[in-house]
Every structure is written in structure tokens, then in C-alpha cells.
């Protein structure tokens, strides 16, 4: 059973068939979704996490359909989502925010929970922030805590929107290593990462999905322009717009 299967998902209403997403993410894969500004990466995260849907769309997480009433809860339980905004609840402490996904599993507020939350915060180098209020954190720390929360609960599939944004190089390396190790050691079945950071993408990705540019005349978003597996990203020639995208990124880096 595939960790994530997407069928007939459109990011915009009345989108043509070539703008639909039909994807299968296999176990052990870290799929990196790449695309320019406004290409629909964050919207795709909203759809894959069940926040938005299109008519006839299907997103299955380990066989549980996300858009069906009876199987939505088990599907959501297997998802760990990090949105573009950290989305830390302002009235809760860092610890409580990370503990949130565990609370649906009826864990007590002490003992086991403290250990589980503490481990996730330590893995991301945020152990010392546990008792702090979220409003006093910097942007980078907030994003680390958001990632720790996405890895809490019973998550088997990680969906992350720009996980490397606003992080120091040291923290970025820690995040790269953590995601790679968690997937390699089957602590996570798979990960889908939307990013603009080509360097980060090359280091963690096992599969690269390039989104199509938005159609300026109709406003249609989404659709996969090209897919490549790791190691073949630069081997074969790309369609012109993807070559242009990659070279723009490389120029900027240089």
C-alpha cells in the first residue's frame, strides 16, 4: 500500500485535465516539489493535508481516503503537516504546541507525553525552548517547533512547505539529516517537501516533481511538468522552462 496516492486533484476550479495531479509516493521516497512563485506549492500542501479539495479528487494516505467522512480521521492521524506559516497556537507554550497531535491519542499530560515531546524538540535542537511562549520565539525557532509538531502524534507521512526557510545553516543541516534518517529508517513512510531551495532539495530529495507555471490567461494552477528521480536530475535535457528555472536558481546561488 502506497503511503500517499493522489488522483484527479485540481488546484483551481474547472482546470483542464493536464493541470490535475495524479501521483503515487512510494515507501522510502522523499518527493521534492519544485516550482516558481505562485505555481501552487502551498496550495498543493493545503490539498494534501485535507484543507482544500476539488470535485472528484482523491488523496489516500496509506489506503485511507482523506476526503471521505468515514476514513478522514485515520488518514489525518497518519499525516504530519508543516505549513508555510508556522501556525503555532499563540495561547499555548512550545511544549503544548508539540504535544497537540498526541492529545488525540488520549495520552496523559505527564510521563510518557513529556518524553515524546522532549525527544522531538531535542532532535530539532529546540529542547531549551519547551517552556517558552510561542510569541517570544524567532521565525527560525518557530519553524523548527512547527516541524517538531509535524513529527508528533502518529505521523507516517510528512508534508512540509518550505521546511528550510528562515533557518540557520546549522539548523538547516540538522533538518536535512533528520528527514533523511527518519525516512531511511522507516520512522516515516515517505515525505513530500515543497521548496524553492534547490540546494536543500538536492540534498534530501529522492524524487523531483516540477510544477507547471501558472496559466496567466485562465489563472489555472497546478499540474506536473516533469518528474525525475535522484541522480538523473541533470543527466538528461529538461524542457526549456525547467532548464530556465534550474539555471535561474544556479545563477542566484553563484
Amino acid at each position: 500500500m502506497k503511503p500517499l496516492t493522489v488522483r484527479h486533484l485540481s488546484l483551481t476550479r474547472d482546470a483542464p485535465a493536464d493541470r490535475e495531479f495524479n501521483l503515487e509516493i512510494s515507501s522510502g521516497e522523499i518527493a521534492v516539489v519544485l516550482g516558481g512563485n505562485g505555481s501552487g506549492k502551498s496550495l498543493l500542501v493545503s490539498c494534501l493535508s485535507g484543507q482544500r479539495t476539488s470535485r472528484g479528487a482523491s488523496v489516500a494516505v496509506c489506503g485511507h481516503e482523506l476526503f471521505a467522512r468515514h476514513s478522514r480521521a485515520p488518514a489525518q492521524a497518519l499525516l504530519g503537516v508543516m505549513f508555510q506559516h508556522p501556525g503555532l497556537l499563540r495561547t499555548l507554550s512550545v511544549f503544548d504546541n508539540v504535544a497537540l497531535p498526541f492529545l488525540q491519542n488520549s495520552l496523559g499530560l505527564s510521563g510518557q507525553l513529556a518524553g515524546l515531546v522532549g525527544l522531538r524538540l531535542e532532535l530539532l535542537g529546540c529542547g531549551h525552548l519547551a517552556d517558552m511562549e510561542t510569541e517570544s520565539l524567532g521565525t527560525g525557532d518557530k519553524r523548527c517547533v512547527a516541524l517538531a509538531r509535524a513529527l508528533s502524534g502518529t505521523a507516517r507521512v510528512l508534508i512540509a512547505d518550505e521546511p528550510s526557510a528562515a533557518l540557520s545553516s546549522e539548523t538547516q543541516a540538522r533538518v536535512e539529516e533528520l528527514i533523511t534518517v527518519l525516512v531511511a529508517r522507516s520512522a516515516l513512510d515517505a515525505a513530500v517537501i515543497c521548496t524553492q531551495d534547490m540546494e536543500f532539495a538536492l540534498r534530501v530529495g529522492t524524487r523531483f516533481i516540477f510544477l507547471r507555471d501558472p496559466d496567466r490567461s485562465t489563472g489555472a494552477l497546478g499540474g506536473v511538468r516533469e518528474e525525475r528521480m535522484a541522480g538523473t536530475l541533470f543527466d538528461q535535457p529538461h524542457p526549456p522552462e525547467i532548464s530556465a528555472y534550474l539555471s535561474r536558481r544556479n545563477e542566484w546561488k553563484n
Binding site: 484543507q51 482544500r52 480521521a73 503537516v81 506559516h85 508556522p86 501556525g87 503555532l88 499555548l92 488525540q104
Partner: protein
């Protein structure tokens, strides 16, 4: 146009979630197993009363002072005010003046806070996070804030009675200088249990409807757009103001 939002929040679904949330927290409290939601409720109620106390006392004092002073200066003589108006002043204040002050200040303040809080949580994706974590955002976000408004408004109303009394008494000091005890006796004797129940009902009803208006507008705010918070809050306040006027008129016609 972007694909549709999966979770929608109508006024009736908010009401249903509010009622089921109340049952849930009552059950948790009876079992002696409070969760994070109960602590949010207590925190919200205390924060609402704490932040609204001073402006409420000031506002109701000003209302009491202004209404008493206006009545004294418009009547032909102070004696007429003492003989005709004083025996009814408590009841008039209780049913009309203090609920208006509470509606204008406390409830509108609550609507602004609740709407902008929820809309900004929509913009910062806090609601999305709760939905993904399988919490119903209306239990976690709306219920504590709505409870704070619904229980806080009548509590502040009762405190406002004393501030209004002192406001009216201060106004009278400019003319016939009644002793405090005598003024209090006259003020309180015209408040019947019917009038007290009617006033509390009006305040509770207004606060409840305002909470649902604010919740509806907050949850339906567009995704991830911080600039929409202001527009959403303004729309909620306009609707709330119209609703307050309608409620006061209807309750006045039906129950007075």
C-alpha cells in the same frame, strides 16, 4: 478560482459545536479530568473580564452621570426630578441604560477581539494546524472565547450597576445633594425581579448572538491573507451593531 475549502463553518454548525463542546467540557470536569480546552476556557474568561473591567466601570459611570444630569437639566425643576424620576431611576437604568452601555462597549469589544483573533488565526494557519491535528477549531478557539463573552458580559453588567449608581449620584451632587444611603434605597427599590431578569436576559442574549456573529465571520475569513483580518472585523462589527439594535427593539416590543 481556487479549489474549495473542505471545512465550512455556518452559524448553525458553530452553534452545534458550541453545544457539543459545552457537554464535552462538563463531562471532563465532572470526571475530574480537565484537558487543555478547559484551561483555555478559564483563561479566556479571566482575560476578558480583566481587560474589560476598567473600561466597563468608566463607561457605565459616564452613562449614569450623563443620563441623570440630562434628566435633571431638562425637567422644569429639581423637585420634579426628585419626586417623579427618582423612584423609577433604578429600573430605567437597569433595563435600558446599563444594557446599552454593556452592548456598546463590552459586546462590541468582544466582537472585535473574537473576530480579529479567529481571522488572524486563519491567516497564520493556526486553524489549519488544529484541523490537521483532528481538533475541531470551534472547540479549541471559539468555545473559550464565546464562553468568555457570554458569561463575562452579564458579570460586567452586574458590576456596571454600581458604577452607574455612583455616576447618577455624582450628577445629583451638583443640585440637591442626596445622601448616599437614601439615594441607594431609591435606586434599588425600583428594580423588580422581573426587570432584573429582563435586563440579564437582554445582555446574555445580545452577547450570545454577538459571539456567533463574530465566530462566523472569523472562521470564514480568507485563507492566509493577513490584510483580510481588518475587512472581516469591520464586517462583523457592522453586522453586530445592526443585530444589537434589532435585539433591543424586538426584546423591548415583546417583553416590556
Amino acid at each position: 478560482m481556487l479549489c474549495a475549502r473542505y471545512n465550512r463553518y455556518s452559524a448553525t454548525s458553530l452553534l452545534w459545536q458550541f453545544l457539543t463542546g459545552l457537554v464535552m467540557i462538563s463531562g471532563n470536569l465532572v470526571r475530574g479530568k480537565p484537558t487543555i480546552i478547559e484551561s483555555e476556557c478559564v483563561g479566556s474568561i479571566l482575560a476578558f473580564i480583566r481587560s474589560s473591567l476598567r473600561p466597563t466601570l468608566l463607561m457605565t459611570f459616564m452613562y449614569g452621570f450623563s443620563v441623570a444630569y440630562y434628566a435633571m437639566t431638562r425637567l422644569p425643576s429639581v423637585q420634579i426630578f426628585r419626586d417623579l424620576a427618582m423612584p423609577h431611576i433604578g429600573g430605567i437604568f437597569f433595563v435600558y441604560v446599563i444594557p446599552s452601555a454593556i452592548a456598546n462597549l463590552v459586546v462590541i469589544r468582544g466582537v472585535v477581539t473574537l473576530t480579529s483573533d479567529i481571522a488572524s488565526m486563519r491567516a497564520s494557519q493556526e486553524l489549519d494546524v488544529l484541523e490537521v491535528a483532528r481538533f475541531h477549531p470551534s472547540h479549541f478557539i471559539f468555545l473559550p472565547r464565546a464562553l468568555a463573552l457570554i458569561t463575562g458580559a452579564p458579570a460586567l453588567f452586574l458590576l456596571g450597576v454600581f458604577a452607574t449608581f455612583f455616576g447618577a449620584w455624582t450628577a445629583c451632587q451638583f443640585t440637591f445633594r442626596p445622601p448616599l444611603g437614601e439615594f441607594w434605597e431609591q435606586f434599588i427599590c425600583s428594580i423588580t425581579s422581573w426587570k432584573a431578569s429582563l435586563a440579564l436576559f437582554k445582555v446574555g442574549l445580545t452577547a450570545s448572538i454577538m459571539a456567533f456573529i463574530a465566530g462566523y465571520y472569523g472562521f470564514e475569513a480568507p485563507l492566509m491573507h493577513a490584510e483580510s483580518v481588518g475587512k472581516t472585523t469591520t464586517a462583523a462589527v457592522v453586522t453586530a451593531t445592526l443585530a444589537i439594535t434589532t435585539i433591543n427593539t424586538l426584546v423591548g416590543l415583546l417583553l416590556d
